[in-house]
Symmetry: D2
Subunit: 242 residues, 4 copies
Amino acid sequence: MKILINEKGKKFVAGADDLHTDHGYIKKEEITSSKSGDILKTHLGREFRVLEANINDYIELMDRRCSIILSKDLGVMAAYTGLGCGQRVVEAGTGAGAATIFMANIVGETGHVYSYELREDFSQIADKNVKGFGLENVTLKCQDVAEGIDEEDVDLVFLDLPKPWDVVENARDCLKSGGYLAAYTPYIDQVKLLTRILKKREFSDLKSLECLVREIEVKDKGVRPKTRMTGHTGYLTFGRKV
Amino acid sequence: MKILINEKGKKFVAGADDLHTDHGYIKKEEITSSKSGDILKTHLGREFRVLEANINDYIELMDRRCSIILSKDLGVMAAYTGLGCGQRVVEAGTGAGAATIFMANIVGETGHVYSYELREDFSQIADKNVKGFGLENVTLKCQDVAEGIDEEDVDLVFLDLPKPWDVVENARDCLKSGGYLAAYTPYIDQVKLLTRILKKREFSDLKSLECLVREIEVKDKGVRPKTRMTGHTGYLTFGRKV
Amino acid sequence: MKILINEKGKKFVAGADDLHTDHGYIKKEEITSSKSGDILKTHLGREFRVLEANINDYIELMDRRCSIILSKDLGVMAAYTGLGCGQRVVEAGTGAGAATIFMANIVGETGHVYSYELREDFSQIADKNVKGFGLENVTLKCQDVAEGIDEEDVDLVFLDLPKPWDVVENARDCLKSGGYLAAYTPYIDQVKLLTRILKKREFSDLKSLECLVREIEVKDKGVRPKTRMTGHTGYLTFGRKV
Amino acid sequence: MKILINEKGKKFVAGADDLHTDHGYIKKEEITSSKSGDILKTHLGREFRVLEANINDYIELMDRRCSIILSKDLGVMAAYTGLGCGQRVVEAGTGAGAATIFMANIVGETGHVYSYELREDFSQIADKNVKGFGLENVTLKCQDVAEGIDEEDVDLVFLDLPKPWDVVENARDCLKSGGYLAAYTPYIDQVKLLTRILKKREFSDLKSLECLVREIEVKDKGVRPKTRMTGHTGYLTFGRKV
C-alpha cells in the first residue's frame, strides 16, 4: 500500500481513486505508476512524496472507531511472550483490529491470528482494516470467546476484554504447553481479580506490569522529556501454561 | 530445546548429557524421550517438569557475558519500527546476541538478521548463543560497521553502539526507502548528538524516548507497584529514511 | 482572605466589592460578616460556601501571568533542603511569586524571604501577590542577582533562572555553612553545566533529580492512574556549602 | 546539634562524649569548642569537618528502627496541604518520628505537632529522637487515635496507619474548616477504601497521587537517570473539610 506525504509531513492513503487534497489533486494513474521515494506534484504544483506504507503508517491512518492499544503496550506484550514468526495466536476482542494487525505482521504467513469479537460493527471495521493491509493470515470470528475457543495448541492468547477472567479456562484449554496468556486491562482491580483466577488455574510465571513511555524533546535550546505524556493506558498481565 | 523446571520454578537447560542438580540427576535418555508437560524424577525422587524453551527462557539461560538489552526496550523498538516476519535487519553491535535472537525470532526464515560486532570474543559468544537456539536466519560478522555495511535495501538498522552517529551515513545507504534506523544509548548526551546527525542526513520521523516498566505486586494484603524497579536502561532513538 | 465556592466547586476570591457571578451576586456586607463554613446565597438563590483561603487556594487564584513552579517541585525542594520555620532564604527570580509565597509560608515571621527579579513587570505582579496574601516576611528586589546578593548567612538560595551557574559564586558567599543551594531548570543541559560549576566551587552533597507525580483516579468502575499527566516540569539540583 | 564529616563524606553525630572512629578519636572538649566549618583532627591526624546538623542530617542519623516516610513524600504532602509556620497538626502513628520532626520543623514554635502512637516502644524511640533534635513544639501521645483526638481546630491531620478510614470521623471533628486530612498508604486497595469513606464523610477536594523521584547521574561520560530507583513507597490521599 502506498501513502503520500505532503511538505508538512501529513500522510494520505493512496486509494483506488485520484487523491484530492487541500493543495490540489494527483491522478490515480500517476500514483499507480510511481514507486517509493518518487515525488509527485498536484495540479497546483505542490509536492507529495510516495512511500510504501509500513504497519505503523497503516494503523495510524486506518479506521480507528474504537480505542486501540498503543504500540508501547503491544511491543512489550510481544517481547514478554516471545511472539515470533510462525506462531499461532488467539485474540479477543478484536476491536478495530490494531493488535490483530500488529500480531499478524509478526507471525507472518506461516503463523495465524484468530480473533474473536462479540460486536458485529467492530468486527466489520476490523475486517476492512485487516484486508486493507493485505493480510491473509487472519481469521476474524464474530462470536463470544467465553463460550468456547475453536483452536488448539496455540502459542499465545491475547485478551483485551473487560472481564478477561471469564476466559481463563478456555484460554488454558487452547494453549499449548509453555504458551502464554496476556491480558490488557485499564484498571488495577482487573489485574487483581485476573491474577487470582490465573493462580487458581495453575498458570505459572505470573507477572503484571505497566509500561510508561516518555518522549524526549531534543531542541537547540536544550533536551528534556516532553511536558505532556500519556499518564496511563493499561496494565499487562501475563501467565504461562505449564 | 528443552528446559526442566524444579519445584521452586528454577529452570535448567537440558543439554546433551545427564542433568545433574542439587536434588539429584536425570538421565539424558529420559530427557530425550520426554515431551513438553511431562514430569521427570531425579534418582532422589524430586520432580522436574519438562518445557519446550521459548525465546525468553533461552535468553535468560544463555551465556550473557556482556550486558544485554532488556525485553521492554526490544519490544518497544520492534513495535515502533513495525518489525515483522520476512524483514531484513542489520544490527551493530552483536554483543551476546540477545537482540539478534529477539529480532531473528520475529523476522523468521523468510527474513534475515545481519549482525556486526568488532570484538571477536563477543562475536563467538553470540555465535554459540544463536546456534544454540537453532536459528538459521542470522549472519554474524566480526567487522566494523563504521567501515561499511555489505547489505542493501534492509528494513531496519538497529544500533547498540557507543557512537551510533558514526554509522548514520552507512545506515542510510543500506536502508530501503521508508526503512528505520533505531539506536539504543544509555546517555542523554548520545541522544542529543545522534539526533543532530540524523537531522543533517535528512532522516524523518525523528523520535527519542525512554521506556519504563513498573511491575505490579499482587498479594493478599494488597496491590502496589514493586518497591524496587530498574530506574533507567537506555534511550531509544528512531529515524526513518524517506 | 476569604474565598467562596459554588455548588460545582469553582472558587472565587472575596474582594473589597460585591461578588458578581453567573449565578447572581452577593453583597460585600454579607461576605464581610460571614465566617468560614457559612453558606451565603446570591440574589438568585444559589448557594456559595465561605472558606478561609489557604496558600494553595491563593496561588491558584492569584495573578499568574508567568509560569509558576508546581507544588510537587516546591515540596520536594523544601524537603530536601530541610526548609523550616525561622529560616532566611534568598530567591531568584521571583516571577509571579508562587515559590516566594510558598517559602514565606514555611519560614514564617521569624524567617524571611529575599527575592530578586530583573524584570520590573514580574516584580510588580509578585508584589501584588505577596501583599495580597498578607505576608510581611518578604522583601522583593528588582535587581540582578548575578551582580551581587546583599544578604549574608542565609539557609537557602533557591534559583529559578535560565543560567543559575552565573550565581553560584554569589550564592556561596551569602550562604551559611551547611546551607543549601537549590536550582530549578527545565533542561538536562542546564543540570549538567550547573553540576560542573557546583563541583568547581566545592559544594558538597550534589544531587539532581526529577519529581513525577501520578494522580490516581478512584471511580466506581475501577482504580487507575489518570490517563493524562504532566510529563515533565523541571529538574531540581542541590548543593550544600561546607 | 553538631555532626562531623570525614574525608569520604561519612557523617557522625557529635554526642556528649569523645568521638571514636575507625580513623582515631577526637576529644569532646575540642568538639564542644568548635564551630561550624572548623576542621578537627583525630589523634591519628585524620581530618573531620564540623557542621551544624540540619533536619535531614539528623533524620538520616537518628534511631530509625521502624521504616520511615521518605522526604519526597513528606515534601509533596506538605506542599499539597499548604503546611506552614504556626500551624497545628495531628499525626498518627508516630513511628520513629521522622514525619513528626519534619512537620515540627515547618510549623515552628508558634505551631505544634500532636502525634499519636499505639506502640509504646515506637513512642519511646520517637521521644528520644524528637528531644534529641531539640524540638519543643511536639507532644507525643501513646494512645489510640481511633478512640478519640483531644485537639480541636487543627490545620492538618496526617495519617500513616494501616487503616486510616477508621480515623476519618475523628479527624473531621478535630479539623478546622478548610483543614486537610492527608494519609500515606502503601497499597492501592487502601486508597480505594479511604476515598470511599472520605466521600461519605463529605470531605472535598479529594485527591490521590503517587510521587516518583528519579535521581539524575551527572558524570563525565554522560548524563542519565540512575539505573536503580525506588519503584514505590506509598500513595498520598488528600481530603479537605469544608
